[in-house]
C-alpha cells in the first residue's frame, strides 16, 4: 500500500457507523477511530479520561462530568455539553443500544462543559458502560442534518474522519488534523473486508494490507515465521462455553452437568481448534474482567469421575442428546470434538447446525439440549458478564439460555450492581462465580486470545482486550 | 343407387392464429358411398388433412354437419365417440411419426384391441395381432421389432394393420403413400385395394399425387384454399375437367411417357394465404379467366349435371 495509508483487514464489513444503530465488532472497530467516548477504558482495563477530563459521583444517583474544552467535531463544530446530552438521550431512545445505558434516568447539560447524569438506581459499572463504543459522543447538528442516513455520514471527534464507504469492500478514513489529542500518525486508514481468514493472511503476506485482525489459528505460524510480519497475541475478554438446558432432562440433574464438565478435555479443544490460542476456562468471565475469581480451580479432565457421576445420576449407560451450534466453523469443530469426547463416557450426542437466526430464536425458547456460545464482557466488568447469563430474570432471549435459576446468585448480582464499594463487589462476584461453577449450568471451555497480524513497518499498535483497537498512535 | 356412408354438410374449421382466423376448411360439402373411395386432391395447405381430421372428430369442427350412416357424429358424447372409433380409422402420411417409437410392432397393433376390449385374453390377442400382421403382409418375425428398425413400407403396413384392428367401415387415408418410393408405393396401393375388396371398406384417400388418386378413387374432390372447387367421378374429372384450377392441375402433372406431350397451363403466382380470406373466388388471383365477378362473389358448389359438381362462375 501507499506510505501514508494504513490498510486494515477484518472479516466483515461494518453494518453502520451510527453508534446507536449497531453494536457489532466490525462496526465498533471502525467507530472507535471516528468517535470518542466520555471516558475510555485503556488497554490495561483502566478507566482514563476521554472527552470528559473529570468526573465525580455526587450522590448515589447523580454523576457529574466535566468536558474537555476546545474539542472539534469533524464538521468543525465544537463539542458542547448539549451534544453529550443529545447523544445520551438518543442512545436511551434507540432500540439497539439502549440496554447499555438502561441505568440512565435523565441527562442534564447545565453548562457548556458540564454534564449531569441522573440514574434510576445505583449502578456501579457506569463508567465501564460509558466507555463502550456505543456511547460515543455525536454532534447534534450533524445527526439532525443527516437524519436517517447518519449511519453513512458519521461525524465524531475521533482521530480519523469518515471519507467514503464502498459497501462490502472498504471504508476509508482520513486523518483529522484538528483532533484534540493531536493529528494521528498516518494520513489515511482503510478498513477492508476480507471474509476468508486464509485470505486475510495472504493479503498480509503479499503486502496488500498492513494489519489483519483475527488471523486463523492455523495461519499464525506463517505470520510469525514471515520475515516482514509480526503477530501480536493477547488475552481477550471473551469466553466460550457449552450451555445445558436446565429445564430439560437430564440436564436438570447437577451430576449430569458436572459429569460432562469432567468428560470434556479442554486442552484438546484449545490445541485442535485454536492451535493453542486460548486458556482453559474456569469461570464465566475472563481473567481480565473486574471481579474474576482467580481461586477457582481448573475443571479437571477425568473420564472415570464423569462416569461415576453419571452412574450416580442414574445414567450408567449414558444417554442420547443433541448439541446445537450455529454455522460458525470454530463452534462446529468444537461440537465435533465434544461429541467424540462425550462418546467416551457413553453419551451419544447428535450435532445440529442451525442458521444463526434460528439458533438465537430457538435457544431463547429453550428448545435445545446443549448449545455452544461465547460471551464477550466488553465492559470489562463482571456485571456485564454474569447478570445477563445467570440472573433468573434474564432467562431466554436476554442471555440466560441455560435457564439457570439460583436465588443466591440473583441476590448477589443485584447487590453487586448497586454497590459502589469495589471490594464488596469483588467479594460478591467471587462468591457468585463459585456457586455458578459448582452448579455447572454450563461447561466453561476457554478464554480465547485475540491476535492481530501486522507488517513490521507498522509501529505503535496495541491490542485492546475488548477487540476494538485504536489506531490513533499507529504509524507506518 | 349406392348408399351414402358419410355425408358432410357445410363443414367449417377455422383456426385462431396470430394475425386472424385461418379458414382451413371453409364450407365444404361432399359424401362418400359405401365401399367406394373418395380421392381428395389439392395443393399443400388447402385443407385436405384438416378435413380428414374433422371428419374423424380428431379436431372439433367450427360448424357444419358430419353424417355417418345418417347420424350427426358432431353431437356424439364421449361414449358414443369411443364406439365411433371402431367404425372410423385413419392412416397417416408419415409412417415414422405416426408410430410410437417406444412400442413394438405387436404392441402398436394390439393397442386398439385392448382399448376396445375386442379380445378376451392374451392368447386371443396374440393370435389376432398375428392375423392382422399377416393380412397386411408383415412377416411374423417382426412381431417384437421396433418401428425404427423397419423401412417406410413396412412401417406403413403397421399403420394399416392398426387401423384394421378394430374392423372399421371407413378409413381416412392421409397421404399414406407420399413418403414412399414408387416401387413400395405400388405395393401399398395394391394392398389397400385388396383390403377394400375383401372387407368392403370405404376410403377417403387424401393425396396430392393425381396419378395415384386417379388410380384408386371412384370419385375425386379437388380442393383449393379450404374449399371444394370440383367434385365428380374419377373418369369424368380426367376426361372433362371444368374448373380452371383443375385444368391447370391436370396439365401440370409430368407424365412418364413421350407419346403425348400435352399443352401446359402454367399458372401465375402462388397460393394465397388462407388467413382472413377476402370474399370472391379464392382462385381468382391465379386464374387466367377471372372476371370482375370472380373477385366479388364466392361461387357456390353446384351440380352441372351427371353428378359433376363445380364451384366456378364461368362454367355454365
Amino acid at each position: 500500500g501507499e506510505p501514508d495509508t494504513l490498510i486494515v483487514a477484518q472479516g466483515a464489513d461494518a453494518r453502520s457507523l451510527d453508534p446507536h444503530a449497531t453494536n457489532d465488532q466490525p462496526s465498533s472497530r471502525v467507530m472507535k477511530q471516528i468517535y470518542n467516548t466520555l471516558v475510555v477504558m485503556d488497554e490495561n482495563m483502566n478507566i482514563v479520561p476521554g472527552l470528559a477530563t473529570d468526573w465525580q459521583q455526587i450522590d448515589e444517583l447523580t454523576w457529574e462530568f466535566t468536558l474537555r474544552q476546545g474539542v472539534k467535531f469533524h464538521n468543525g463544530e465544537e463539542l458542547k455539553a448539549s451534544d453529550v446530552k443529545f447523544t445520551l438521550d438518543r442512545m436511551v431512545a434507540s432500540g439497539q443500544v439502549a440496554h447499555i445505558v438502561s441505568f440512565i434516568e435523565s441527562v442534564e447539560a447545565p453548562e457548556d462543559y458540564k454534564v449531569i447524569i441522573n440514574l434510576k438506581e445505583p449502578f456501579a459499572p457506569i463508567l465501564a458502560h460509558l466507555a463502550h463504543t456505543a456511547a460515543s459522543i455525536l454532534n447534534e447538528k450533524a445527526v439532525t442534518e443527516a437524519g436517517d442516513d447518519y449511519g453513512t455520514k458519521p461525524v465524531g471527534t475521533g482521530p480519523f474522519k469518515f471519507v467514503s464507504w464502498q459497501s462490502g469492500d472498504r471504508i476509508t478514513l482520513e486523518a483529522f488534523e484538528d483532533h484534540f489529542a493531536g493529528a494521528p500518525k498516518v494520513k489515511r486508514v482503510v478498513f477492508r473486508n476480507i471474509t476468508e481468514g486464509t485470505n486475510r493472511t495472504i493479503a498480509l503476506e503479499t503486502g496488500e494490507v498492513d494489519i489483519a485482525y483475527d488471523i486463523e489459528p492455523i495461519d499464525k505460524r506463517k505470520v510469525i515465521d514471515h520475515p516482514d510480519l509480526n503477530l501480536i497475541e493477547e488475552p481477550s475478554l471473551s469466553m466460550a462455553y457449552i450451555g445445558f438446558n436446565m429445564n430439560r432432562e437430564p440436564f436438570n440433574i447437577k451430576e449430569v452437568r458436572q459429569a460432562i464438565n469432567y468428560a470434556i478435555n479442554r486442552q484438546d479443544i484449545i490445541d485442535a481448534v485454536l492451535y493453542g490460542a486460548g486458556q482453559i476456562g474456569t469461570s464465566p468471565i475472563a481473567p481480565q474482567v473486574f471481579g474474576f475469581n482467580p481461586n477457582i480451580k481448573e475443571s479437571e479432565y477425568n473420564v472415570e469421575k464423569a462416569k461415576e457421576l453419571l452412574k450416580q445420576a442414574g445414567f450408567e449407560n449414558g444417554f442420547k442428546t443433541t448439541i446445537w451450534t450455529n454455522d460458525n466453523p470454530v463452534r462446529i469443530q468444537i461440537a465435533t470434538i465434544v461429541q467424540s469426547q462425550l462418546r467416551d463416557v457413553g453419551i451419544d450426542v447428535t450435532i445440529e447446525t442451525l442458521e444463526w437466526g434460528a439458533y438465537l430464536d430457538r435457544t431463547a425458547r429453550g428448545e435445545h439440549d446443549m448449545f455452544i456460545l461465547g460471551w464477550v464482557t466488553v465492559t470489562g466488568d463482571a456485571d456485564y458478564g454474569l447478570y445477563a447469563l445467570y440472573h433468573s430474570t434474564q432467562k431466554g432471549g436476554a442471555g440466560n439460555r441455560t435457564f439457570f435459576e439460583n436465588s443466591r446468585v440473583d441476590e448477589i448480582l443485584d447487590q453487586a450492581r448497586v454497590s459502589i464499594d469495589f471490594e464488596e463487589r469483588e467479594r460478591l462476584y467471587h462468591e457468585a462465580q463459585e456457586i455458578i461453577v459448582e452448579e455447572a449450568p454450563a461447561a466453561i471451555l476457554y478464554y480465547s486470545t485475540q491476535n492481530v497480524g501486522l507488517n513490521k513497518q507498522v509501529q505503535g499498535f496495541k491490542l485492546h482486550p475488548a477487540g476494538h483497537h485504536s489506531l490513533f498512535g499507529v504509524s507506518k | 343407387m349406392a348408399e351414402k356412408l358419410l355425408e358432410v354438410k357445410n363443414l367449417k374449421k377455422y383456426f385462431k392464429v396470430k394475425n386472424g382466423l385461418l379458414h382451413a376448411v371453409d364450407d365444404v360439402n361432399f359424401f362418400i358411398n359405401k365401399g367406394e373411395t373418395l380421392g381428395v386432391v389439392g395443393e399443400s395447405g388447402c385443407g385436405k388433412s384438416t378435413t380428414g381430421r374433422v371428419v374423424l372428430r380428431l379436431l372439433e369442427a367450427t360448424d357444419g354437419e358430419i353424417l355417418f350412416e345418417g347420424n350427426d357424429i358432431r353431437k356424439y358424447n364421449r361414449r358414443q365417440l369411443r364406439n365411433l372409433r371402431k367404425e372410423m380409422q385413419i392412416i397417416f402420411q408419415d409412417p415414422f411419426a405416426s408410430l410410437n417409437p417406444r412400442m413394438t410392432v405387436s404392441e402398436i397393433i394390439a393397442e386398439p384391441l385392448i382399448i376396445h376390449k375386442l379380445v378376451k385374453n392374451k392368447t386371443e390377442l396374440d393370435q389376432r395381432v398375428s392375423e392382422l400382421m399377416e393380412t397386411v403382409g408383415l412377416a411374423e418375425r417382426l412381431y417384437n421389432s421396433y418401428p425404427h428398425e423397419l423401412d417406410g413400407g413396412r412401417r406403413q403396413r403397421i399403420g394399416i394393420a392398426r387401423a384394421l384392428a378394430v374392423n372399421p367401415k371407413f378409413i381416412v387415408c392421409d397421404e399414406p403413400v407420399s413418403a414412399l418410393d414408387v416401387s413400395i408405393q405400388a405395393q401399398i396401393l395394391n394392398l389397400m385395394q385388396d383390403l377394400q375388396e375383401e372387407f368392403g371398406l370405404t376410403y377417403m384417400f387424401i393425396t396430392h399425387d393425381l396419378s395415384v388418386v386417379k388410380h384408386i378413387s371412384d370419385n375425386i374432390m379437388v380442393m383449393y384454399l379450404g374449399q371444394v372447387v370440383e367434385l365428380t367421378s374419377s373418369k369424368e374429372l380426367f376426361k372433362n375437367p371444368l374448373h380452371p384450377y383443375t385444368q391447370a392441375l391436370l396439365s401440370a402433372i409430368p407424365v412418364p411417357s413421350l407419346t403425348r406431350k400435352r399443352e401446359r397451363i402454367i399458372l401465375k403466382g402462388e397460393i394465397s394465404s388462407p388467413i382472413n380470406p377476402e370474399p370472391g373466388c379464392r382462385f381468382a388471383k391465379r386464374c387466367n379467366y377471372a372476371t370482375d365477378r370472380c373477385f366479388k362473389e364466392n361461387p357456390e358448389l353446384r351440380d352441372v349435371g351427371n353428378g359433376h359438381f363445380i364451384a366456378c362462375h364461368l362454367v355454365k
Binding site: 457489532d24 439497539q96 462490502g168 493479503a203 442471555g399 | -
Partner: protein, 308 residues
C-alpha cells in the same frame, strides 16, 4: 417492438408480486427474530420487544406484507433492519461490482468458449476436439471456490502477479472473473460446439460450399450467425445468473457484489434487504432475457418478423 417490450415488462409485475409474497412468507415463517438479531444475543427482552413493536413486527402477517407492497409501490423499499441504510442505494452501490464481475466473467467465457467451440465442431472427433471438450468438462466440474483458492495461491501468493482479493482496479477483477469465466466458458464451448455441429449439417452450408465460398468464410459468415442463437441464450442465462451474484466466488475474493449482500441479508433476516435484492435480481434477470430476445431479432430475421 415497443409494444412487445412493454408487454414483457408488464408480465414482470405478477411474477414480482408472487416472488415478494413467497420471500416474505419465508422470512416471516422461518425462525429467527429480526429484532433479536439487530440487538444481538445479549439484549434484554424488553428492548427486543420494544424494537419489535417499533418495527411493526408484531402486526399480523398480511398487514406487514401489504404495508411492504404499498411502500414498494411508492418506490420506498425501506431501510435495512441491520444497517439502517436505505436498501435501494445500497444495492445500486454494489451493482457496479456485480456488473463488472458478470461482464468480465462472461467476456472471458465468450473469448474462450466460442472459438474453441467452433474449432471443435469443425474438427469433430479430432484430438483438439477431445482435448477441448475434456477441459470444458473440467471447467464445469471444478467447485468454484476451490478453483478460486487455487488461483489465489498460484497467482497471488506464489507468482505475486495479482492481488489476492478485493475490489477496485482492473487487476482485482482478473482472478474472480477467471474463476467464473472458466465454468461459464465450459458451458459456452459445449453449446457452441453442438449448435455449430447442427448448423454445419444444414443444407444452406452445403449450398454455400457449392457456391465456391472458402471454408473459413463458410464457417464465419454462414454458419456462425445461425449457430449463435442457442449460444446467446446460454450467454444470457450465464450473465443473468452472474448478475444475481456468485456468492462463493464473491466470498473467496472478498468481492463486494450483490450475491454476498443477499446471503448476508438472508442470514441476518434483513427482510427489506432480501426483498429488494430478490426483486432487483428478478428484474435484472428479466431485462437480460428481454435484451437477449431483442438480440435474437437482430440476428435472426425470422424472429424479428414475429415481433411486428
Amino acid at each position: 417492438m415497443a409494444k412487445y417490450i412493454l408487454k414483457r415488462l408488464l408480465m414482470l409485475i405478477p411474477v414480482i408480486l408472487g416472488v415478494t409474497f413467497i420471500v416474505f412468507s419465508i422470512m416471516y415463517m422461518t425462525p429467527g427474530d429480526p429484532a433479536q438479531m439487530m440487538l444481538g444475543e445479549n439484549a434484554p427482552e424488553e428492548a427486543v420487544e420494544a424494537l419489535r413493536e417499533e418495527m411493526g413486527l408484531n402486526d399480523p402477517f398480511l398487514v406487514q406484507y401489504f404495508r411492504f407492497i404499498g411502500n414498494a409501490a411508492r418506490g420506498n423499499f425501506g431501510r435495512s433492519y441491520i444497517s439502517k441504510k436505505e436498501v435501494v442505494p445500497e444495492i445500486i452501490g454494489r451493482f457496479p461490482a456485480t456488473l463488472q464481475l458478470a461482464f468480465f466473467g462472461v467476456l472471458i467465457a465468450i473469448i474462450i468458449g466460442i472459438p474453441v467451440g467452433i474449432i471443435s465442431a469443425t474438427r469433430q472427433y479430432s484430438i483438439f476436439d477431445s482435448v477441448s471438450m475434456f477441459f470444458a468438462l473440467l471447467g464445469v466440474s471444478m467447485p468454484n471456490f476451490w478453483q478460486g483458492l487455487m488461483l489465489i495461491l498460484i497467482f497471488a501468493v506464489n507468482l505475486r502477479w495479482l492481488p489476492s482479493s478485493g475490489y477496485g482496479s482492473f487487476q482485482h477483477i482478473i482472478l474472480p472473473a477467471l474463476t467464473l469465466g472458466t465454468s461459464a466458458a465450459a458451458i459456452i464451448t459445449r453449446m457452441t460446439r453442438s449448435s455449430m455441429l447442427e448448423v454445419i449439417r444444414q443444407d444452406y452450408i452445403r449450398t454455400a460450399r457449392a457456391k465456391g465460398v472458402a471454408e473459413n468464410k463458410v464457417i464465419i459468415k454462414h454458419a456462425l450467425k445461425n449457430a449463435l442463437i442457442p449460444v446467446i441464450t446460454v450467454v444470457g442465462l450465464q450473465f443473468g445468473y452472474l448478475l444475481g451474484g456468485a456468492v462463493l466466488t464473491e466470498t473467496v475474493f472478498s468481492w463486494p457484489g450483490i450475491g454476498r449482500l443477499l446471503v448476508e441479508a438472508i442470514r441476518q433476516k434483513d427482510t427489506p434487504m432480501v426483498q429488494a435484492c430478490v426483486i432487483f435480481i428478478a428484474v435484472t434477470f428479466s431485462i437480460v432475457n428481454l435484451a437477449i430476445d431483442i438480440l435474437y431479432a437482430f440476428i435472426d430475421p425470422r424472429i424479428k418478423s414475429q415481433y411486428k
